[in-house]
């Protein structure tokens, strides 16, 4: 999740889209009798319907922001209700512009028996995240250069982004498997059962990630508001100064985020025990330099 709000929004990370596209759905079977060449045929279509009346995006982000600003301390020059309103408005505007996402959600509902609507949906979400990963990295780097927070602080957010990407890959794998099993089911009952199994398996993972996204948003918004003079600046503070935050509150939020991130990663290992395994290229110049530097005695590291 990148600093600041410009260019990205909670939409990119929000479990709400995933929940809406993968969890709050139920399979339905529509049987139609059609007449062709004087003969009657049965046409069976399977599709998905929303499980419950969809909560409006506006309600959802407003609720999220209300929870955030009732959790974090805010400076006296801001009003909590107005912050909720301004941040929510920003997210809603971004969502309204996001025709791609809306279309992807619609396609889940429209899809017919032969398609793999759930897989297409998660692949869309994953593909989009993948295509933006370099931008996210760039924003973190840029933000580091216009702040006095240490680099390891920003590194945590890159770890979070990588974790989120791995999370989407796990979801893709699970959805692919269960949707395949469902599509080869002998009857609609079996089909429903497979989709229910899928939801039971991925549901706890989406819940876990939601907690992590929330703690990340609390930390980021806390830093943003304490480094902004007015409501305009909250979308792109000029400089993030560590001296502007209250250290005990900052530590509380940072520790909470670190714990949630660790818990989420540990939870993800149940789904894919190898997801943390990365191949580091030891011949790459940055790795070589870092490897030599890390082994030097720490007091020497002064420049």
């Amino acid at each position: 999740m990148t600093f600041p709000a410009s260019g990205t929004s909670l939409v990119d990370y929000s479990g709400s889209a995933l929940r809406y596209g993968l969890m709050d759905i139920k399979p339905v079977e529509v049987v139609e009798t059609i007449k062709r060449f004087g003969l009657k045929f049965k046409k069976i279509t399977r599709k998905f319907e929303p499980l419950k009346p969809a909560q409006s995006y506006e309600d959802l982000v407003t609720f999220q922001n209300k929870t955030i600003f009732s959790t974090v301390q805010i400076p006296e020059w801001f009003d909590a209700d107005k912050l909720v309103k301004v941040f929510s408005q920003y997210s809603i505007e971004n969502y309204e512009k996001d025709t791609e996402l809306k279309k992807a959600i619609e396609e889940v509902k429209k899809a017919e028996r032969k398609g793999r609507p759930l897989l297409s949906f998660i692949q869309f979400i994953k593909g989009r995240f993948e295509s933006r990963r370099n931008d996210y990295l760039e924003v973190e780097a840029e933000r580091f250069l216009t702040s006095n927070f240490p680099l390891s602080f920003y590194s945590k957010f890159v770890v979070f982004d990588n974790t989120y990407y791995d999370f989407l890959k796990i979801l893709e794998f699970k959805v692919r498997r269960y949707e395949f099993l469902a599509s080869s089911a002998r009857n609609f009952l079996m089909y429903q059962r497979r989709i229910a199994e899928m939801k039971r398996e991925i549901g706890p993972l989406i819940d876990k990630m939601d907690e992590c996204v929330f703690s990340c948003a609390c930390l980021k918004k806390y830093i943003i508001v304490w480094n902004s003079k007015d409501y305009k600046e909250i979308f792109n503070p000029k400089f993030l100064d560590i001296n502007n935050v209250e250290i005990s509150e900052f530590e509380r939020l940072y520790n909470n985020f670190s714990i949630k991130l660790r818990e989420t990663r540990e939870f993800m290992l149940r789904y894919n025990p190898d997801f943390l395994h990365k191949e580091i290229n030891s011949e790459e110049r940055t790795t070589k330099m870092f490897g030599k530097l890390v082994n030097l005695s720490l007091p020497v590291l002064k420049l």
Partner: protein, 261 residues
């Protein structure tokens, strides 16, 4: 009747305690032949491999401090010097970087080399490592004809660091936080009497805790422990003294197996 000479070792008995440098080498793929040999032996003979809490903490601190140090150098020292050079020469900050900027960095690094010579504080090594890294990267960009301004140059360096440190954190978590590989973390309450003996040998604070943990475990569990390290200058150099005074064998990963048979 088989009268042939057997070259196989008897089964190893005991365990390994690994030093910070061994774990860092594994994560960063350094000293690969030595580390691979150790891992192969561990795997083949089912040898338990532990790290103490003190080692776990030191690894994390080293990664964090190195990352923060590099970030600081780029954000403060290099950025300031490059911008100052442009201002003095009335060149807009947004102009693409040229060989003149590289020469400005040359001045910066020379200044630090000279300062270190005079004050005799610190080592030249960190400076030369950062110098090689930044200048090679910039030189490569200029050779390719890439137009890059100061802001983009600094951002690219930071991106490389962020990418690397996030991967390192993944590997750290896999190996240490979640203990999914060949190492288990041992929480050991240090015996102050042992710490004093290790100190008296002339081992510095951090290494002292690592060695004291291994000795404490060896005494408490009555299990042979071999302390595996790549620290030639302060630990392996004193290995005979450590063995004599603490009954703990210290060795290079290459030889670790043979200290357990």
């Amino acid at each position: 009747m088989n009268v042939g000479i057997t070259l196989s070792n008897p089964s190893p008995i005991g365990c390994f305690f690994l030093d910070t440098c061994v774990i860092l080498s594994d994560i960063l793929k350094e000293n690969t032949p030595r580390i691979e040999k150790l891992k192969k032996d561990v795997n083949l003979h089912n040898i338990p491999c532990y790290i103490s809490d003190s080692v776990k903490q030191e690894i994390y601190e080293k990664i964090k401090q190195t990352s923060d140090f590099l970030g600081k150098v780029i954000r403060e020292t290099i950025k300031f010097h490059l911008e100052d050079f442009r201002k003095r020469n009335k060149i807009p900050l947004t102009d693409p970087m040229t060989s003149n900027d590289i020469k400005a960095l040359e001045d910066l690094f020379s200044y630090y080399y000279n300062a270190l010579k005079i004050t005799k504080v610190g080592l030249q090594n960190p400076i030369s490592l950062i110098e090689e890294w930044t200048i090679s990267f910039l030189g490569e960009q200029l050779d390719k004809g890439v137009k890059i301004n100061i802001k983009q140059f600094l951002r690219e360096l930071i991106k490389k660091l962020l990418e690397l440190t996030s991967y390192i954190e993944d590997l750290y978590d896999e190996l240490i936080t979640f203990q999914r590989k060949f190492v288990k973390v041992k929480n050991i309450t240090l015996d102050s009497r042992i710490v004093l003996v290790v100190k008296s040998i002339g081992i510095h604070k951090k290494d002292c805790d690592h060695i004291a943990s291994a000795v404490t475990y060896q005494i408490r569990e009555r299990e042979k422990v071999v302390f595996v390290t790549l620290d030639f200058s302060s630990i392996l150099e004193k290995r005979h003294l450590i063995q004599k005074q603490l009954d703990l064998e210290c060795c290079d990963p290459l030889y670790a197996l043979h200290h357990l048979v």
